[in-house]
């Protein structure tokens, strides 16, 4: 489940980055947008998975290894992601 959440998060980030770049006059063709989006997601997902222990930490929180504050952290992070998803749909920006 954590993997799916992280992939969705990186997908949203890449969509936002590509959309923003497009609005700013960059990445005008579909090919460059696809390349930019895939590259952004690949780099951000690789960073999170291979070079950080974020996934392990989230699993630890989810499995109760960090106690009640672990669940609080998961809740906070979930809230952040939900807000960003909502903002992206509503305002085309993650932070408004």
């Amino acid at each position: 489940m954590i993997e799916i959440i992280l992939y969705i998060t990186t997908l949203l980030i890449s969509l936002f980055v590509v959309g923003s770049a497009s609005d700013a006059g960059f990445l005008n063709s579909g090919l460059t947008r696809a390349f930019g989006g895939l590259s952004t997601q690949f780099v951000s997902a690789s960073w999170l998975y291979q070079y950080t222990n974020l996934e392990t930490f989230l699993y630890g929180c989810l499995n109760g290894q960090v106690g009640i504050v672990g669940y609080f952290f998961i809740g906070s992070l979930s809230l952040l992601i939900v807000v960003w998803i909502n903002n992206l749909f509503e305002y085309r920006q993650a932070i408004v």
Binding site: F16, N53, L54, G60, V66, F72, S76, L79, A94, V96
Partner: protein, 367 residues
């Protein structure tokens, strides 16, 4: 006299809302994992030094203590049963000690001997030739037991096939192997020593090579299992160490096919282990899995020498390092709480109802 004239400049606006969003997201994407890494490793090991986890055997106890719950889980992932069974010498060997059980255990998967006669549901495959636990400190630089290699039973009196596979080698080890971890003690690292019993020349032995593989370790307690995985190892198979020369005095340098493997646990993993078994090590067993072996030079793995693969013996040593669980718990839980509050704050600040970031960047934003 020159008069200095200062021209007031308008503060440049450097960020439009989109740029601000991109910057904020990348800061969070970059800073959050770093913060998590800091929190999960907060607090230091109270004892950075590894010490032996194994119980030293009494030299007067000639046979040692019998194994009751130690066995090979996997012996390489390649089924060589037909090779050994069809080998002419092996047939002859059958009359001098290589029995059906040995042929069956030419291939061990998940603790089951399934090579030849699989009608027996589960048979404990011994980890050492004598099937008795004997740990001494004079073979390698840590306390170690002598264990049989992957195809000892079927190939000890026969030609070894020359390779044991590159898929998975795994062992289940009972509490003898970690009996020196004191009751109530929290560990934040395990180190495994593997060394082929046969020493080789340090400088001109061609069998040394660099390999990569993955590892995981499981703790078993009261029919529950907790596994720590995704350890990636990059190792040379050359194990070099100093050994006391009992005949001439002083130390000599010895080399063997082997390596040491460190399983360092993050602090919240240490907490997790403590919660899992209550640091009751007398009733905890462990399983060690090593898999997906590859050579760094790109050659096929084939008969690449591994300390535990073959028809002879190897030494296994286990060490651990300890940590203060109260200190770790305080740092990890406090750090996680602070992170949670920050993330919650960022979440609220991402809504239109509270704009602390924009206020912070006020003057630098193009509205």
């Amino acid at each position: 006299m020159k008069e200095r004239v200062t021209i007031a400049k308008k503060k440049p606006r450097v960020l439009n809302p989109i740029q601000f969003n991109v910057l904020a997201i990348f800061l969070i994407l970059g800073l959050l994992p770093v913060a998590v890494a800091l929190v999960s490793n907060a607090g230091t090991s109270s004892n950075e030094r590894y010490e032996s986890s194994m119980k030293e055997s009494n030299a007067l106890n000639f046979f040692g203590d019998p194994y009751t719950d130690s066995y090979w889980l996997d012996n390489g992932g390649t089924n060589y049963t037909s090779y050994y069974f069809n080998n002419q010498v092996a047939h002859y060997g059958g009359t001098i000690g290589i029995d059906d059980e040995a042929y069956d255990c030419a291939y061990v998967v998940d603790g089951f001997c399934i090579g030849y006669n699989s009608t027996i549901p589960r048979r404990q495959f011994d980890v050492s030739g004598s099937n008795f636990y004997q740990a001494y400190n004079f073979n390698i630089p840590t306390l170690s037991v002598l264990m049989t290699q992957s195809h000892y039973a079927v190939a000890s009196q026969d030609a070894y096939a020359g390779g044991s596979g590159d898929d998975r080698f795994a062992w289940h080890l009972e509490s003898y192997f970690i009996e020196e971890i004191q009751q109530g003690q929290s560990i934040d690292g395990l180190r495994f020593w593997f060394a082929d019993q046969d020493t080789v020349h340090c400088n001109n032995y061609e069998g040394f090579t660099n390999i990569t593989f993955e590892g995981k370790v499981s703790f078993h307690y009261e029919n529950q299992t907790r596994t720590f995985e995704d350890y990636n190892f990059q190792k040379s198979t050359k194990l070099q160490y100093e050994k006391l020369d009992t005949n001439h005095g002083g130390f000599t340098t010895e080399c063997a096919i082997g390596f040491t493997l460190d399983f360092d646990f993050s602090n919240f993993e240490t907490l997790s282990i403590s919660q899992f078994n209550g640091n009751n090590w007398d009733n905890t067993t462990i399983s060690l899995y090593l898999e997906n072996f590859e050579r760094e030079d790109g050659f096929t793995f084939g008969g690449t020498q591994l300390p535990f693969a073959g028809n002879g013996n190897f030494y296994l040593g286990i060490e651990h390092k300890t940590i203060n669980p109260q200190e770790v718990g305080f740092f990890v839980k406090t750090g996680t709480l602070i992170l949670s509050v920050i993330v919650l704050g960022v979440g609220l600040a991402s809504t239109p109802y509270w704009d602390p970031f924009r206020n912070f960047f006020k003057g630098g934003m193009i509205e």
